[in-house]
């Protein structure tokens, strides 16, 4: 499964919207994700890929396309 597919699977499970189709411009706000959802998404991705997501770096992320690209970059850095 690609990083993009994994991110989508984790996000839709945690925000409890399994059938939603989101585009690169979809935001966490569009998904009605609250702060607890976001923490749980980050923890799930960190556990899945053994990466460390920097909250400060995420401040620059505005939509799901950028979020997926950020996770892909972190996974690539991890090797």
């Amino acid at each position: 499964m690609s990083v993009e597919e994994t991110v989508k699977k984790i996000v839709t499970r945690i925000v409890r919207k399994p059938d939603i189709n989101f585009s690169p411009t979809t935001t966490f706000q569009d998904l009605e994700a609250d702060s607890l959802d976001i923490v749980q998404i980050l923890v799930a991705l960190e556990d899945t890929y053994d990466i460390e997501i920097q909250d400060e770096e995420l401040q620059k992320v505005t939509n799901m396309g950028e979020f997926i690209a950020y996770i892909e970059r972190k996974v690539a850095e991890k090797g």
Binding site: S35, L36, L42, V43, E46, D47, E52, I53
Partner: protein, 261 residues
């Protein structure tokens, strides 16, 4: 003359031990001679830094990542401790999280998350820690004044801390025959990096909760000193108590001025 290290040879687990109050406790126990096991939630780099600071104080330090909301992660953490150390002398239940909502806005997910980490994890960790305390031991749980006072949007955390304090009493009695002392520490507002963000502007009036009858806020190091004392033999006859450390603020109306104002 160098003072004697009162916790020399002890092995201590501090949950949430890499940052804030947990970090101060880790470093205090390390300075008092304990070897420390630092549990952390997400930031390996921060945990590594704290571990290095503990080593600089002469302790051995080991880090374990575990989300304490998940029972299987708690189990994994204790398997690792048992395999590496074989025993435990001190368990500090410090890790905490919470959803900031009023009672009427709180949903079941936020309630469960907060209770799982703040109360259930204490139960599960204490059960496992007790099995590793073959020669007795000390447990200290970190609570807050929100367990007994009503603070804005603090419902879930306040209730979870009340549960933690009640559990402290039950554990203290159940574990007493094994030579295990269990107590809690309830702090008022603590001067941390996070709090500084709200108090950086010197032109803003000083909120009442920023001061205390003692004339200053509680610091993480104040809590660490108390926790370290509760981990010594001198505290053996303190059982199942919640010790308040707040500079006296809970004894007065919040609007009362400090003696130094």
């Amino acid at each position: 003359m160098a003072s004697e290290k009162i916790l020399r040879g002890k092995i201590a687990l501090i949950t949430g031990g890499s940052r804030g109050i947990g970090r101060a406790i880790t470093l205090k126990l390390a300075a008092e001679g304990a070897d420390v096991i630092i549990n952390y939630f997400r930031k390996t780099s921060t945990a590594e830094l704290t571990a290095q600071e503990a080593r600089d104080r002469g302790a051995s330090a080991h880090i374990i990542k575990a989300n304490l909301a998940e029972p299987e992660k708690i189990e994994g953490m204790f398997h690792e401790i048992e395999a590496k150390f074989g025993r435990l002398d001190i368990f500090i239940n410090n890790a905490a999280s919470g959803v900031a909502r009023s009672a009427l806005e709180l949903d079941s997910r936020g309630w469960d998350w907060t209770m799982d980490i703040n109360a259930r994890a204490f139960l599960l960790c204490a059960q496992r820690a007790a099995r590793l305390m073959k020669d007795g031991g000390k447990m200290v749980a970190i609570s807050s004044l929100g367990s007994r006072l009503v603070l804005p949007i603090y419902t879930a955390v306040g209730v979870s801390k009340a549960a933690l304090e009640a559990l402290t009493r039950y554990l203290a009695i159940e574990l007493a025959p094994q030579g295990i002392c269990v107590n809690a520490v309830a702090a008022g507002a603590v001067e941390t990096e996070a709090l500084k963000m709200y108090t950086a502007d010197p032109n803003l009036p000083k909120p009442a909760w920023q001061t205390t009858p003692a004339g200053r806020m509680v610091k993480p190091e104040d809590i660490a000193d108390l926790v370290a004392f509760l981990c010594t033999d001198q505290a053996d006859m303190i059982r199942g108590q919640t010790i308040v450390i707040d500079g006296g603020v809970s004894l007065t109306p919040l609007s009362s001025p400090s003696p130094k104002d």
